[in-house]
């Protein structure tokens, strides 16, 4: 673990500053905020997966107690209100653009998934709004649903401008080269995997409170957002036609997002729109059912994988043909997630000379699917790490050794993959070796034999992953279809007394920015972390930033802070030189003190801050007063965290229950700022991956009804499902940001599902089992054991 340069600075496991308010119930979430005279909105949602709206009768509801307004899609259309936009599109294989259907904030004419917003009932109290909603009569003409991903292209067309229900048809790589490698393979490995659909389940449901100030003609929207500035841009410029300067977005404490709160949703736009129409604040808080139905879901791929090996078991080629279920509408990152954030990861940690991948984004009458913790990279890692194990099994090699001989060697960096990315630095053997040692890989067969004596099948599974995060260079993103930049911003404001406020364009919704960012500033300025206040989540206070997702906050946002602090130090040095009557170049800043080289003259940081704001003796000819600097940082490349996770499981053949008995992981996140927070991110990520691999599954029935719409049926991982994780790190510092950091927020969720499924298959491999889909539920595992037993009996 890297040592920090100060007690509280970089490398120290400082306790989280924000936890006092969270643990004492003093957090301030959107639903905690109320405004005088506020009204409440209840959304009537479609209970059909696909239907035409023949009529909506609101007369009785409008007369109900407390009802102030009832709006439908026709009102939205009459006011010319736009829908949430897709933030990143791609060019199809044939050169045509992504098919982008309209997404009205209240359904106009057609509903396309169960949970689609149809009517907004606004009343004095939520109770009254809900009561009145029951008096609204909606006459539907039910249409055929499109639920099954594999056959979605054959289903009834869902959007007028999305033929064959295909939003996009994206390819990357060299098809001819990949096909040649497959044709000439010494060993050809084929595998089809399903990446199951997940529901994010942030602990805080989405919420919004919009207020209109008629005197200023300005709006304030409190909302559960991971990126308030983008919310302002989208709602202001694309949906409601509000000048950005007249729309303030405040995302206060936000209780988790995992991606689901990146996007603008119809509800917050309805609240904002209605707040002006009614000249009253409008409040909405989702209940848990609404969250299940209408939060953007994650994953949901079918991937067909072909891997070619030469006679020495070196990989020579890879082809992946995939379908991604995008759901009923396009969200902000619906298109980029299965394309740009997915296909360039196909090389993994491996030297693969030829790669080709095609992915088709399909419309179905289900909730929209968008970026969810890992966003495209878990899907890539899953198919790759599954096929790596399948290949090792097929050629009879140890899966760790098979990975090792195919790793990109550590002296090959920077490494240009055949799928667009250039990895700046890495060393994949070091974390593999460490993780193997941590879990006592060599001793596994003895543990398997011991478990067998107890009637249990024990298995071990690896996953060596790489991810691209710290998204990303704006120029590259733009060339690849992004409609936004992907820099980050920070303002460092030093107060006259030397305390420091940092306004960041990122947003913390559980990540611990208040602490990690303060440590960067404290380390660089030689002050206590308690003197540094981190301010985020208010478009009126912070510089324009892109928010938090894609493990970008530290690598991009933290780097922006570091740059702004450097500017502060540069200015302060000139002030110090003036006060100490020395040349600028003779002033040295270290440990919070400015000194003149070779003398005992010194000035504290606080003295310089005071001088900047009380500039009686000041270099006015060279500097403006004050000590406040802003920096925007646009990275040169993605960052590439990597590592190896190893799962060990025991399966009870009588019930099919998979017990996760051990976990070791060694990650390379570059330099660590706060190892405790990093470890927490790793734990949370693994837990989420364990959820996907063993428990979670968003299931729709053939009519398009979500049958896992509550915790009675949607299975979340719990603490007692998890073993103690053995967590360690190796470090290759990122080469292109000042902090040498890579990001850690998604790694656990990316790495863990294939490790677990590989372990389950390994446990059952003595029975002849070679495949297992996620989630590996008790029933599914029990059936696999039974069928393997029948097959063996038949032989």
């Amino acid at each position: 673990m890297p040592e920090g340069s100060t007690k509280d600075g970089i490398g120290a496991s400082v306790r989280r500053k924000e936890d006092k308010r969270f643990l004492t119930g003093s957090g301030r979430y959107t639903a905690d905020i109320s405004r005088h005279g506020q009204l409440h909105v209840h959304f009537i949602r479609s209970d059909h997966a696909h239907a035409n709206i023949k009529s909506i009768k609101t007369d009785d509801a409008a007369k109900a107690d407390g009802v102030v307004a009832i709006y439908t899609g026709e009102d939205v259309a009459a006011d010319g209100i736009g829908g949430p936009i897709c933030g990143w599109v791609v060019t199809n294989r044939d050169g045509s653009p992504t098919n982008e259907p309209p997404h009205p904030i209240l359904a106009n004419g057609t509903v396309r998934y169960v949970g689609d917003h149809v009517v907004a009932v606004i009343a004095e109290t939520l109770q009254q709004a809900r009561d009145a909603a029951e008096l609204v009569e909606i006459d539907y003409e039910v249409l055929a649903p499109v639920v099954d991903l594999a056959s979605a292209s054959e289903g009834v067309q869902i959007h007028e401008n999305v033929p064959n229900n295909m939003y996009f048809d994206f390819e990357l790589g060299d098809e001819a080269a990949a096909e040649a490698a497959l044709a000439n393979a010494s060993t050809l490995v084929e595998l089809e995997v399903r990446n199951n659909r997940l529901i994010p389940n942030a602990i805080e449901p989405r919420a919004a409170l919009a207020e209109y100030d008629p005197a200023e003609e300005a709006y304030t929207l409190f909302t559960t957002s991971q990126n308030p500035h983008l919310t302002r841009l989208v709602i202001g410029a694309f949906m409601l036609n509000i000048p950005e300067s007249k729309l303030r977005i405040v995302a206060p404490d936000v209780g988790g997002g995992f991606g689901s709160k990146i996007y603008v949703y119809p509800e917050e736009a309805v609240c904002t729109w209605a707040s002006k129409k009614l000249q009253r604040p409008i409040k909405w808080t989702a209940d848990r059912t609404e969250a299940f139905l209408s939060d953007a879901h994650g994953r949901d791929h079918i991937n067909k994988v072909k891997l070619a090996l030469d006679e020495n078991n070196r990989i020579t080629g890879l082809r992946v043909d995939s379908l991604a279920n995008i759901g009923a509408y396009l969200g902000a990152f619906s298109v980029v997630t299965p394309t740009i954030l997915h296909t360039p990861l196909m090389s993994g940690c491996y030297k693969i000379p030829a790669i080709y991948t095609n992915i088709k984004g399909m419309a179905t009458t289900t909730a929209r699917v968008d970026a969810y913790r890992g966003a495209g990279r878990p899907e890539a890692t899953y198919l790759l790490e599954r096929v790596m194990d399948a290949a090792a099994r097929q050629v009879g090699m140890d899966p760790a050794e098979f990975r090792r001989i195919n790793f990109i060697p550590k002296d090959a960096f920077p490494y240009q993959t055949p799928v667009a990315l250039q990895y700046d630095i890495g060393d994949y053997e070091a974390p593999l070796d460490k993780a193997l040692e941590m879990i006592d890989y060599k001793g596994f067969e003895a543990r398997r034999a011991e478990a067998a004596k107890r009637g249990k099948y024990r298995g071990i599974g690896l996953s060596s992953y790489i991810e691209a995060c710290g998204i990303a260079p704006s120029a590259v993103a733009g060339a690849l279809g992004s409609r936004v930049g992907l820099y980050e911003s920070a303002t460092v404001r030093v107060d006259p007394t030397g305390t420091i406020n940092v306004m960041t364009g990122t947003h913390s919704h559980g990540q611990g920015h208040d602490t990690t960012f303060a440590q960067i500033v404290a380390d660089k300025l030689g002050v206590d972390v308690g003197q540094v206040q981190i301010i985020h989540g208010d478009s009126d206070k912070t510089p324009f930033g892109m928010g938090s997702y894609g493990s970008r906050s530290l690598a991009v946002g933290g780097s922006a802070i570091a740059k702004a602090v450097d500017k502060v130090i540069d200015k302060a040095k000139i002030i110090a030189a003036h006060l100490m009557e020395a040349a600028d170049s003779d002033v040295v800043f270290a440990d919070g003190k400015f000194t003149v080289a070779g003398t005992d003259t010194e000035k504290g940081f606080g003295e310089i801050a005071l001088a900047a704001y009380v500039p009686h003796n000041y270099p006015h000819d060279r500097l403006e007063p004050g000590l406040e600097e802003t920096a925007f940082y646009d990275p040169l490349n993605f960052t590439y965290p990597s590592g190896t996770h190893i799962a060990e499981v025991e399966i009870d053949p009588a019930t099919g229950v998979v017990q996760l008995v051990d976990w070791a992981c060694c990650d390379d996140f570059g330099n660590l700022i706060n190892p405790m927070i990093v470890e927490g991110q790793v734990h949370g990520g693994i837990a989420q991956g364990v959820g996907q691999a063993l428990m979670e599954n968003a299931a729709y029935d053939e009519n398009g009804q979500l049958i896992t719409a509550s915790y009675m049926d949607y299975c979340m991982p719990r603490a007692d499902d998890l073993p103690d994780f053995k967590v360690d790190y190796t470090v290759t510092a990122c080469t292109h940001n000042d902090l040498g950091v890579k990001g850690c927020g998604e790694a656990g969720a990316i790495a863990s599902p294939p490790a677990l499924i590989n372990a389950v298959i390994d446990a059952l491999s003595p029975l002849g089992v070679t495949d297992m889909s996620m989630p590996a539920s008790p029933e599914k595992v029990w059936r696999a054991i039974n069928e393997a037993g029948k097959a063996q009996a038949a032989e």
Binding site: Q127, A654, M712, D713
Partner: protein, 261 residues
């Protein structure tokens, strides 16, 4: 939640009086309150039983009598229950989570007869007696179908008695999501022979399994259950477990319960 009236009854008689005018009894509220919050139930009046003096655990010699409003946590932690029928205390300690066990009551659970609830398996498995304001009902006569019981419209449970048996055990295979019993089997061996009650699995709610009871009467061992058929045709099938898997789990949990006896 819809508008509702709330009354707190001071006695069983008062509570029953409210029932006749449409009042809905509220015990621990672990089912009723969430159902009301989801607007799936809309009682005009909710009658809180917390003031009726119906909680408490009593050793009556050959049985343990538990007041209807006794919470799961009190049964789980009761030295009387732990000493006399440890399987019952363990069952109560495994219901729901800490919050549920601190609110939920035995009377509420038994009266609701949720097909996935644990308590009905104990009542039926131990051959208990349900005491009401009107009569005593034998367990075998009490549970009449999914969410259905022998209780009349104006009848409420006041206590449940469990005979002390030689040995008993309850084994639950929890639903992975809800952690209700996906299959729960209560096995009890006493003077009148072995009783095997199954919850979580039956389309009509909790049921006894005659085949397993006979097999265990002949040979009280897990292996005696190996050849016993469990008919899956009357079992629940859902996304977590098809009927054949549930049938398999019924026998497996029964075997484990026998081993635990």
């Amino acid at each position: 939640m819809y508008q509702t009236n709330y009354v707190k009854a001071a006695s069983t008689d008062e509570a029953v009086g409210h029932m006749s005018s449409g009042g809905q009894l509220l015990a621990g509220g672990m089912t009723l309150i969430p159902t009301m919050k989801q607007r799936l139930a809309s009682p005009e009046t909710v009658v809180d039983l917390a003031g009726c003096g119906l909680s408490g655990i009593e050793d009556t010699g050959d049985a343990i009598r538990i007041g209807a409003m006794t919470r799961h946590v009190d049964v789980a932690e009761s030295a009387v229950v732990q000493g006399a029928i440890p399987a019952l205390a363990a069952l109560a300690g495994g219901i729901g989570d800490r919050q549920v066990r601190n609110c939920g009551t035995i009377g509420g659970s038994v009266a609701n007869n949720d097909p996935s609830a644990c308590y009905p398996a104990a009542v039926l498995g131990l051959g208990g007696t349900v005491h009401t304001n009107k009569r005593d009902i034998a367990a075998d006569d009490f549970f009449t179908g999914m969410f259905e019981t022998a209780l009349d419209e104006d009848e409420m449970i006041t206590a449940v008695s469990f005979p002390k048996v030689a040995k008993a055990a309850y084994l639950k295979f929890p639903n992975p999501a809800s952690r209700y019993a996906m299959v729960g089997v209560f096995v009890a061996a006493g003077g009148d022979g072995t009783r095997v009650a199954v919850t979580g699995a039956g389309s009509d709610g909790v049921f006894r399994h005659g085949g397993m009871e006979s097999a265990l009467d002949g040979d009280f061992s897990a292996s005696a259950l190996d050849g016993v058929a469990v008919d899956s045709s009357d079992l629940i099938g859902d996304i977590h477990a098809a009927p054949d898997y549930r049938a398999h789990l019924v026998r497996e949990m029964a075997k484990r319960a026998v081993d635990a006896c």
